[in-house]
Symmetry: C2
Subunit: 337 residues, 2 copies
């Protein structure tokens, strides 16, 4: 049995999802020969450390009752640096403009010799090359499957399952909120404002939907895909972005009459980085409805591989994080074989 | 730069595809820090060995001109055992009944301490547990992505990208020939015999289509998926199989009128192992047309992930083999880090 000591930095929906999944999957992990012990949890205002392993159920209860997980006083950087552990799960909220606090957290973890698994898009949309170089220089593993597409495993699909392939192009729908709004506008001839309101009532769109409907969230994911596919230090400002706020029910009706759907399509190639509403033939794989994420990866050898899955949700995101942790543990086992 | 010496056992379409891909991808592999040298090639009647690396273009030419790749005299087992190399690519033809010659080739490779990458379904549909145990006992890696779905990366998706998930069910279309025939029968109200003939003329169906149209090929893949998902020593005889030969254009027409397509669906769970024609709603992800392979994996954490890709073809299959080789090389690098 291999013991892995981890910290969870960020204790909102995703962090609590990770804790729930780790509690639920203890037996599964034991069968894989690994025992994951959470030795530190930090939120933006407090932290909790226990070298023997934190009582996870209690931590969630305290957080829900009091709004904080532990004691005030230590900074997140101190927790990351000074707690004896192997791997940092970085799940603080995404800030597209600065990449913080994720960027500093991840770099601090790497520089103190810890592996990192993260769902935080901000640091990768701003500083992909710097982060990957830091991980390489310090001999640690940095994995980020959960940054794109929730439970849709596209990062490691490109990186591992399609290893050796040259990626010619990726087309995809990477924002479930926009896809839901466009689906509903088309199905019910709703205008944009009504469809948005419906999505907000269902909890699919946030109170401030700007990041989603302006295409910013999709553009961040696109930057991460481009960097994964081409390792070319793409940054957010390289992307041409058009959101969905100006689409009318009349435009959707016209598209429908001609055999098309309108979808917010991300296109990634070495020449093109674009997020924009596009006409998609109704029979095309990308003409999916609802909140699904989907992407088709065009390559020289495999020709085309399409993957779809649920693009959001705390448990779905935690699933991607768990698979990344297991990957690192398997590499560790190989190391000590 | 890491040198990996490999042999290719079986030199038909897939073996030649592997050789073509390795020649084409030399630079890509060098960028990944690996130099793959083919030191032995064997077909059913002859073999070619060169410790300095075989001239791959010449080998293909000789095979095409003479029907054999090298000299007669050595057995395949001798080539595998006595040639100094690291990894065996086993790509001999599938024999569902005996698993041979793949079974013996793979066990010979494992027992002589070599990693194995294979596209051969036979051994895995008959002796999955024995093969995996042998690999474990001898401390080598055995990978078989190419056995199911050609370029559709489903094995490693289950094993790695969805690691930690409990697989509740897999539904899929795993035989492109049957899907092509059913698609054409539906589109053009063709009867089975006409659609089969068309598929044969296009090279989609083989001269003897039995394995495909009777559901045998799909059942083999299903056994491999079940073993991957549940590690429960499923064998071919556990599968309930119905082929597509008795489907009439009238049945398809009736389905169409009610909003359905008929597809040969594989269903895998801990309770059910079945290959049978089923009604699929037209809007369902599995209602794909043509020769694509597709599968939806239902799990506890990710909920559902759908993957599709080209299920056959020598280059597509070689792509899966290449990704498996790269995986093993990455594990080796981790070992020596």
């Amino acid at each position: 049995m291999k013991d892995i000591k981890i910290s969870i930095i960020g204790f909102g929906d995703v962090g609590q999802g990770v804790v729930q999944v780790l509690s639920q999957k203890q037996q599964t992990l034991e069968k894989l020969g690994v025992n994951i012990k959470v030795v530190a949890i930090a939120d933006s205002r407090s932290s909790l450390v226990n070298a023997d392993g934190i009582d996870l159920k209690k931590a969630v209860k305290v957080k829900r009752n009091t709004g904080i997980v532990g004691r005030r006083g230590s900074t997140t950087a101190e927790i990351i640096k000074n707690t004896d552990h192997d791997l940092v799960v970085e799940v603080t909220p995404t800030d597209i403009n600065t990449g913080e606090p994720g960027l500093t957290n991840i770099l601090t973890a790497i520089e103190s010799g810890k592996h990192v698994v993260t769902s935080n898009k901000g640091p990768f949309a701003r500083n992909y090359a710097k982060l990957m170089k830091a991980a390489k220089d310090h001999g640690v593993v940095l994995r980020y499957e959960a940054t794109v597409g929730g439970a849709m495993p596209i990062i490691n699909l490109i990186e591992e399952n399609l290893a050796g392939n040259t990626i010619e192009r990726i087309d995809g729908i990477l924002n479930g909120t926009c896809n839901y709004i466009l689906t509903r506008m088309g199905e019910e001839t709703l205008d944009y404002q009504h469809a948005l309101l419906e999505a907000q009532e269902l909890g699919i769109a946030e109170a401030d939907p700007t990041y989603d409907v302006m295409g910013i969230d999709a553009a961040c994911k696109l930057v991460i895909l481009a960097n994964t596919a081409y390792n070319n230090n793409t940054v957010f400002d390289d992307v041409s972005i058009t959101g969905i706020t100006k689409i009318t029910p009349q435009a959707l009706e016209l598209a429908d009459k001609n055999g098309y759907r309108v979808r917010l399509i991300c296109e990634v190639s070495e020449q093109v980085l674009s997020v924009a509403p596009k006409l998609v033939p109704k029979k095309h794989p990308l003409a999916v409805g609802g909140t699904l994420n989907i992407a088709t990866i065009h390559t020289d050898l495999s020709k085309m591989v399409t993957i779809s899955g649920i693009g959001a949700g705390s448990i779905e995101t935690a699933s991607a994080i768990l698979s990344d942790i297991i990957h690192i543990y398997r590499a560790c086992l190989a190391n000590t074989r």
